[in-house]
Symmetry: C2
Subunit: 312 residues, 2 copies
């Protein structure tokens, strides 16, 4: 094989109550990475599209190629060489797991081109390294679902313990991206390091409720559990009209609505595509009322994660 | 009907990672309440057995009869009168949900004698009032499972939102009660009011893991998730040889081991009755090594909760 094209989906991390432990993948959009074998060893970036020239073109500095270099080193394949083209199909710093999707597409493509020496799950630590470069911390709540698909729980980071939770078939996500930017590092910086025991207990109750609701297909319980008393009250101040947009989603049929990752994108979960559409349209309208353009993505939950699109 | 005898089981609250939100009922032991209609209005305590004379004999002061009086008042049945006999079959202040079992048996018996005007779930707030009297806070993690059976999650207190999580059939509980006493109010008092964000995230991961493990019958995940980084490190100092007893349980086949409620009882969960027995015997032996007598109760998870034993 000389050429691989791989796709990795956008993801919603945190999912209201599950800061740093919950994430799920959606079907579209996602980033695409093409890699082509070359004779000389080492990785070079041939092109990046869709980033408006903002991502580093040096293989040692771009998260996608850095994780590929890590993987090559781990496999003892420093003799290997390839050219990389990255197609960004979502905005940077959007809260849609943009950096995670790129890194995941990169490691999946490279692993495939090398004859799949590692399993999907074994690729996770490499993709996480990309997050460390992009956002300053090697979190897994975007790369986990982008790589594996579905709704993912990261139970523990040391050691890494990640598992999937089945979701009801009729669950849809509306992801709305307002045309403003939040730096992930800033979004993390404004969080308090201490949480009251009372809020910890409330959040634990919602975590248990959301997992149970998803596994039992209990939409009412999912709805009641999509409450974040710890992170959302702090981070939502970075998103203009957050409360109004959230209210618009819920008033228009969403089960719940919160910040996607560290924002500024907001997501809603709904039962059925009709509710998801109505909720999303209301969210976009509400952003428009304060002069903010917003893009809506409507999707079921992605159940396969990253995939190889083409190879020869 | 003139006479009801009702049983309510002992319970394990918190269940390692689920402080104030998780609890499950075991099959035995449990408290029994007998009530007998009398002509005069009002409730009188005819007898209490098994408490070594420690519980109040006045109906206005004993948690069991106080919750019954609340229920009568709510139903507008202040004309009603009965005599109560309470049989305590577990020690007070044991961490086995002793006060909860008594209160639950009381409200279940009274509701039955009145022709079941309320559903099981509707009795919960009344039983919770008994906890307020016994321990200073109206928590539901003992009364919930004692009343409803099974593994119970209290997602929220305001409003009260409680639901059940199915458990694997082969899951057994070993409850070991060392002959020392801890006051529930003290056990609550020593807790810190603030939790680090890091520990909150770790605990949330374990909450999600335990619920998923129970629902998927994934014993390994149950085992990895029975970790409490918030409460156990503080409360365990009140239990002599806590770390050794816990280690003995796990070394002898338990999936996990922690404090039952606010202690001093400790519980282990195991796959299969053999592991549960071995773990429990090791726990009792380890307490004996420091001169503490301990009683072991081995039981499956109770799936029906409180029940009427006799009526005529």
């Amino acid at each position: 094989m000389n050429y691989i094209k791989a796709f990795a989906p956008a993801t919603v991390a945190n999912v209201a109550c599950g800061f740093d432990i919950f994430g799920f993948a959606i079907q579209e959009p996602g980033d695409t990475v093409e890699i082509r074998r070359r004779d000389e060893p080492g990785i070079v970036i041939a092109d990046i599209t869709g980033d408006e020239g903002r991502l580093p073109r040096s293989a040692e500095k771009n998260a996608v190629t850095v994780v590929m270099l890590h993987l090559l080193k781990h496999l003892g394949r420093t003799d290997f060489g390839c050219e990389v083209v990255l197609h960004k199909n979502m905005p940077l710093g959007s809260g849609m797991g943009s950096s995670a999707a790129s890194a995941v597409a990169g490691v999946v493509a490279l692993n495939e081109l090398l004859g799949s020496p590692l399993s999907r799950k074994d690729l996770l630590p490499f993709a996480m390294e990309g997050e460390r470069i992009a956002s300053g911390s090697a979190h897994a709540d975007n790369v986990g679902p982008s790589l594996l698909g579905g709704f993912v729980v990261i139970r523990s980071y040391t050691p890494l313990d990640i598992f999937s939770v089945p979701v009801p078939e009729d669950l849809y996500c509306t992801l709305v991206h307002p045309d403003i930017e939040i730096n992930t590092k800033d979004a993390r910086y404004i969080l308090r390091n201490e949480v009251s025991l009372k809020n910890t207990i409330a959040q634990m109750g919602n975590v248990a409720g959301l997992v149970t609701g998803l596994m039992k297909s209990d939409y009412e319980l999912i709805s009641r559990s999509m409450v974040d008393v710890i992170i959302e009250p702090v981070r939502s101040i970075l998103i203009p009209s957050f409360n109004e947009v959230k209210k618009a989603a819920i008033d228009n049929g969403a089960l719940g609505c919160s910040i996607s990752g560290s924002g500024p994108s907001m997501f809603a979960l709904s039962r059925g595509i009709e509710n998801a559409t109505k909720a999303g349209e209301a969210m976009v309208r509400t952003f428009a009322e304060v002069g903010i353009d917003a893009t809506m993505h409507l999707s079921g939950i992605n159940d396969g994660g990253a995939r190889v699109l083409e190879s020869y």
